[in-house]
Symmetry: C2
Subunit: 363 residues, 2 copies
C-alpha cells in the first residue's frame, strides 16, 4: 500500500509540474497541466469568528498553564485573480469527513474548482469547516475523559467513511472496485481521495446552532456579498447562512446537498430573495450503504420540493440535473469528476446570468 | 471577544485586499498589500505517504460500515513561481499546536513567508504535519474509549497552548499583555495568532518513529531535492529526514528548533554532508512558563553544540543569531514578526550561497 501511495503522489506531482518522477505511464494520460500561468492580485488566509474559552491545565494537555484559548474559528484560504476583484466572490465549503482540500487539485492531479473559478475571474474563498482541518476543534472534553473526570460517553464520536462505504455512498459503483460503466469519478485515483479523509466531530462536537452558519454569513458580509457554495454535509449551510443575512448572500449553490430542509413559510420568504442553484450527480438510486440515511434520490426530491416552494414564493431557484442535459455518470464528488470543468462551466454560467447580471442591473 | 475578533478579521481582509471594511483606522497602518501580482506556473495540493488501517464500525463513528481508511498521510500545499521551477524548492513545516497556516498571511495581514519565498523564485511546499490539520489523525482509539471497550487512559492527550502561556513561551513579553519594548511580534494581532491554534496529538498519538520524518524525506526525494525548513516542534524534523535520505535534502533550515539532538557520530557524519542553518530569535532567557522544558537559551546552546560537532566533521553548519547583527526583539514566531522579511532575506541569502551555488558548482 505504501508503495502504491508513493507512486500515486508521484503521478500527482508529475501531472501538475510537468516532470516525470517514476510514474506508471498509463496513469499520466488523464493529467492536465495549465498551459498559462495563474496571475493573482492576492492570495493568503485568515480566520472568521472564534470565541475565547477558559480551560484547565488538564483540558489543555497538561504541558502548560491553564487559561484561555480560541475555539470555533473558521480558517479560510483565498485567491483573488488579477483584474477580478470586482467580480462576485465564491465561497466553497466542503462536506463530511473532508476539508477544503476537496476543491483543490483533484485526486488524479487535475486542476481543482478553486483554481478554475479563479481563472474564470472570481475571487475564491475556501474554508475548513469549524471543527475540522486548519480550523481546529475544542479538545477539552477529550482530555477530561482521559483524566477520568467525566464519563467516556461525554466525548463526541469521530466520523470517518471507510473505503468500502465510500463506493456506494459516493456513487462510484454498487460495490468497491466495481465502478459504473459510465462513472465520471477517476476511480484509479480513489486511494488519493481516501487520503483527503479526516475525522469529523460535527455530530455532537459543535455548539448549537452549528457555528459554521454564522461564520459563513459573517464571511459573506465581510466580502460585501458572495456566492456561497456548499457540498454534501454543508450543502444546506448556504441556506442557513442566508437566513442569518440574506442581503450578504448574492447566490447559493448547493452541490449534492445532504438535505434540503422543510423550512417555515417566513424562512421560505427570506430565501426567495436569493438566487439558488441545486446541483446533483447521477445514479441517485444507488443504495448508500448507510441504512439510517435517505438515498440521494430522496434528497434530490426534497430539494425539488424546496425549489418548488421557493419559486411559489417568487424566488429564482432551479435544479441543475446533468442527466437532463445528456451528461451521465457524475458522482457525489462531482467537483473531482473527470468532467468537473463541464459542470463548473454550467455553474459559472448560472452565476453570470442569475447573480452577476442581476447585480449589474441593480446598479 | 467576538466583536473584537470580527474587527480583526476585517483588518486582515482590508489590508490584503485593499478595501476598508469597517476597521479601526490605527490598525491599518502596519498592513501591506503586494504592489505586483503573483504569477504562478502551478499551485495546488497533494498528499505524501499514508497507509491503510482496518477499523470497526464503532471506530469509524458508527454511521457506516467498518472497513479500511487511510491514516498517517501528509497534506502538502504548493506554489511554483512562473520561471522558478528550476530553483531549489523550499518545504516549510510548522510547530506544535499549529498548522501550515503559520507560514501564510501573518496575524496582522502581511504577506506570509510562503508567498515571499515564491516571489523570490522558489517553489514552496507547505505541509500540515501528520496528525494535524488537513492531514487528519487516527480517531479509532477515541471512539473505542467512548464506547467503553478500552480504558479512557488509552487515548492520547491533546495539547494546546493558552494565551497566558504563549506570551512568555513565544517570547512576546514576560507576561500576557506586557510586550518587550523592542518586541518584533505584532502583539496587537495576538488574538489572530490564537486562532491558528489547533489540538496537537503528537505527544502519544503518532506512530513511532514519528511519521513526519519519512513523509518529509519522501517529499524531498519526490522533489528531486529540497531545502527542508522546520519550526519549533518540527525544528529537528529536517535533521531526521536527512538521516533517512541525505541526498534528497539540499539544505536544512531549523527555525527556533525545540531541540538539537545529541546525535551519534555516524549520524553526525551523515548530517555533515548537508548545509544546515539554525535560526533563533531574541530574549531567549525569558522563562517559558513550561517548567518541564528547557529555556530557549538552553536550546540555542544545544544547537551551538550540534553546529560545532557538524563543523568538526567537515559540515557547513551555522547559526543565524539576529542580535549578533544588531537585529533585536525577534520572537519565537519569527516568520510572523514585523521584520519577518528581513529575516527571510537572510535565509534566502544563505540558500543562495550555500545551496544554489553549491549545486551549480556540482553541475
Amino acid at each position: 500500500m505504501l508503495c502504491r501511495s508513493a507512486i500515486l503522489v508521484g503521478v500527482t506531482l508529475a501531472g501538475v509540474l510537468g516532470t516525470a518522477i517514476g510514474v506508471e505511464a498509463q496513469a499520466l494520460k488523464d493529467l492536465q497541466t495549465p498551459d498559462t500561468p495563474l496571475v493573482l492580485k492576492a492570495q493568503g488566509s485568515f480566520f472568521v469568528g472564534g470565541e475565547k474559552a477558559e480551560q484547565t491545565q488538564v483540558e489543555l494537555g497538561s504541558l502548560g498553564p491553564g487559561g484561555h484559548i480560541t475555539v470555533n474559528q473558521m480558517y479560510v484560504r483565498y485567491m483573488v485573480p488579477q483584474g477580478g476583484d470586482g467580480n462576485v466572490p465564491v465561497v466553497m465549503v466542503h462536506g463530511a469527513t473532508l476539508t477544503g482540500k476537496s476543491w483543490e487539485t483533484t485526486p488524479d492531479g487535475r486542476l481543482g474548482w478553486d483554481e478554475y473559478f479563479v481563472r474564470k475571474g472570481h475571487p475564491v474563498y475556501v474554508p475548513d469547516q469549524v471543527g475540522r482541518g486548519r480550523s481546529g476543534f475544542n479538545q477539552a472534553v477529550f482530555n477530561d475523559v482521559r483524566a477520568g473526570s467525566v464519563p467516556a460517553a461525554s466525548q463526541p464520536s469521530w466520523l470517518r467513511f471507510s473505503d468500502e462505504g465510500v463506493w456506494p455512498n459516493f456513487r462510484f459503483g454498487l460495490k468497491p472496485g466495481e465502478p459504473f460503466s459510465d462513472s465520471q469519478f477517476p476511480v484509479t485515483a480513489v486511494d488519493e481521495l481516501a487520503k483527503q479523509g479526516v475525522p469529523d466531530v460535527s455530530l455532537g462536537g459543535l455548539p448549537a446552532p452549528n457555528a459554521n452558519f454564522k461564520a459563513l454569513s459573517d464571511l459573506a458580509g465581510q466580502l460585501n456579498g458572495a456566492v456561497l457554495m456548499g457540498h454534501s454535509q454543508s450543502g444546506s449551510f448556504p441556506l442557513e447562512a442566508a437566513l442569518l443575512n440574506a442581503a450578504a448572500t448574492r447566490g447559493l449553490v448547493l452541490v449534492e446537498p445532504g438535505r434540503c430542509p422543510a423550512y417555515r413559510p417566513e424562512q421560505i420568504a427570506t430565501l426567495a430573495k436569493v438566487p439558488i442553484l441545486v446541483v446533483f450527480g447521477d445514479h441517485r438510486d444507488n443504495p448508500t450503504g448507510l441504512p439510517t440515511l435517505p438515498t440521494w434520490q430522496a434528497r434530490f426530491e426534497a430539494c425539488q420540493a424546496l425549489i418548488a416552494r421557493l419559486r411559489g414564493a417568487g424566488g429564482q431557484a432551479e435544479m441543475l440535473n446533468p442527466p437532463d442535459r445528456g451528461i451521465r455518470g457524475n458522482s457525489h464528488m462531482i467537483m473531482q469528476d473527470k468532467n468537473h470543468l463541464q459542470i463548473a462551466d454550467l455553474i459559472l454560467q448560472w452565476i453570470d446570468e442569475r447573480v452577476s447580471k442581476r447585480s449589474a442591473g441593480k446598479k
